[in-house]
């Protein structure tokens, strides 16, 4: 995702630095999706629409009250959080095959969210443009917009906090327990329903919180959600659902690849790079996970004989 405004990048170094900065943003963008997928097995295709919802909240608060996109992140997180948590009982009603049906369900939710946004906010293109953010700052000899650096710093801080949550707190460990083995975790006394509710809320909140940052980078329209969703999918599949570090590495790689592709060939090659990487990552990780998995052949593919 490129900024649709601002000076054209003219050096490859600027493209590289800009891509890496965007990459940290991508990692944060993906975190909500990854958290939900990891614990509840749901591919939330409405993820991007939750981001856009947060983006509209941020944009309205900026436009009407002048509040900085960074500061409104908690507020922007709220409606998506509530929506996500409210969806838990619906997800419980999804039958088998769960993963496929939940994908279709979240897609339906995506359409509904899009139509709500369209009705409420119209289809105008919107953007958050704090003047201070345009100021150029010199980073390693490269001029970067101050706003971009602010976004990257915010992303890194939130990602760091998430990492601490998952690795250092008891709750984080119970999240990982549920993602690895739902029944086992339940037997150990962890309530999967409460964990689901928490995780959905967290994932929705992360998606919504990113929204105002998104609105400062790119035009917001009701149907703009597909972009963030695809980005989140690429990074989550690449990095693995449990790993914030993996998301970050994947984000940096994706941001870098897209930025260099855009510098070399324009918007077409930027988009093709992102989509091509998605295809690669799906193919690389997908076989052996979905469908003809080895565990279908015998107990754990050959453990007991």
């Amino acid at each position: 995702m490129e900024s649709r405004r601002g000076p054209r990048r003219c050096t490859v170094v600027e493209a590289v630095v800009g891509g890496l900065i965007t990459g940290t943003f991508y990692a944060l963008l993906a975190s909500g999706f990854a958290v939900i997928l990891g614990v509840t097995r749901v591919f939330n295709l409405a993820h991007g629409d939750l981001v856009i919802l947060g983006a509209y909240v941020g944009e309205r608060l900026w436009h009407l009250a002048g509040w900085s996109p960074i500061l409104v992140m908690p507020l922007a997180a709220l409606p998506p959080l509530l929506l996500a948590v409210a969806s838990r009982p619906l997800l419980a009603r999804v039958g088998e095959p769960f993963v496929l049906r939940s994908v279709v369900l979240t897609f339906g939710a995506s359409l509904l969210i899009q139509s709500t946004l369209q009705t409420t906010f119209t289809a105008d293109f919107r953007l958050i443009t704090p003047p201070a953010w345009d100021r150029g700052i010199s980073l390693f000899g490269v001029r970067v917009a101050a706003g971009r650096l602010l976004i990257a710093a915010t992303a890194l801080i939130v990602l760091g906090l998430l990492h601490l949550l998952f690795t250092r707190t008891f709750f984080g460990k119970s999240l990982r327990a549920v993602s690895l083995d739902r029944e086992g975790a339940a037997l150990a006394g962890i309530d999967p329903v409460r964990v689901d509710r928490f995780v959905l809320g967290l994932g929705g909140a992360l998606a919504g919180a990113v929204g105002p940052l998104f609105a400062a980078i790119q035009y917001v329209t009701p149907s703009a959600g597909i972009g963030p969703t695809l980005t989140a999918i690429v990074l989550t599949i690449f990095g693995g659902v449990g790993s914030i570090g993996g998301l970050l590495v994947g984000g940096l790689l994706l941001g870098l690849a897209e930025s260099v592709a855009a510098w070399a060939g324009g918007a077409l090659w930027r988009d093709l790079t992102g989509l091509g990487l998605l295809l690669l990552v799906l193919r690389w990780r997908g076989v052996g996970l979905a469908g003809a998995s080895v565990s279908a052949i015998g107990p754990a593919g050959g453990r007991a004989a």
């Binding site: 052949i297 593919g301 004989a305």
Partner: protein, 244 residues
């Protein structure tokens, strides 16, 4: 005449070596019992033979040809087929349809002409394993014992020359176990090579021509069934102490 040969076959899962340099031969019209404690590599060997898993090392030869790289469907059509330890028929198809699939795709040259023919032949095949009455039922609700019979019928439908039977007798009453073993003997009489894995050793060894004992992924004994189960290596593996 050697039908199938495995040479130096190995398979690793991460740090765990499930099979280690196994070399075996299968000949037509024989029943080979594959015995060994849990974890000795029996199902892994079957998975490698039928193509569900690739080996980490070694080769598999079929009628002289190297088939190590062949995918499962190709091996099935060549004549290797198996039942699965965890029975997994197609849950929403009828028993006839489950079997018909193997008839249609397992040996296309000799198979029935169309779906309708296949369903009729499937009915007969189900009769051979004692499931004729249930032919139109959907597979999802079968008991464990019946699922195993269905697995057998599905495997036989593909006209195997080498049939690998994994834990067929689980959940069977003694009488139905006898019937199934008698059926396997009839298959042997038709020239099929059968390899059996099962925990009901007595029944197994009564019908087997040969036994192969595996332990921790290696072949530790091979030969006539009575000799194999009395061999020191086997007794040590099963009972954990050297025989007196």
């Amino acid at each position: 005449m050697v039908l199938c040969e495995v040479i130096g076959l190995s398979r690793r899962f991460g740090g765990n070596t499930a099979l280690h340099g196994v070399t075996l031969q299968f000949e037509p019209a024989t029943i080979v019992a594959l015995i060994g404690p849990n974890g000795s590599g029996k199902t892994t060997l079957f998975n490698l033979l039928s193509g569900q898993l690739p080996p980490s090392a070694g080769t598999i030869r079929w009628q002289g040809q190297d088939i190590t790289a062949w995918p499962p469907h190709r091996r099935c059509r060549a004549g290797i087929n198996r039942t699965f330890q965890v029975a997994q028929p197609f849950p929403d198809l009828t028993l006839s349809e489950n079997v018909a699939l193997g008839l249609l795709y397992g040996a296309p040259a000799e198979g029935p002409r169309g779906r309708r023919d296949a369903l009729v032949q499937a009915q007969d095949l189900l009769g051979e394993v004692g499931l004729a009455a249930r032919a139109q039922a959907v597979a999802r609700h079968l008991s464990l014992g019946d699922m195993k019979r269905l697995e057998l019928a599905m495997a036989v439908a593909t006209r195997p020359a080498l049939l690998l039977v994994d834990e067929l007798l689980a959940g069977q009453s003694p009488r139905s176990a006898q019937e199934l073993l008698a059926y396997l003997s009839r298959l042997r009489a038709r020239g099929v090579a059968v390899s059996l894995v099962d925990h009901r050793l007595q029944a197994l060894l009564a019908v087997a021509d040969r036994a192969v004992a595996l332990h921790q992924g290696r072949v530790i004994a091979e030969g006539k069934p009575e000799a194999v189960i009395k061999s020191p290596a086997v007794l040590e593996a099963y009972l954990g102490e050297p025989a007196p």
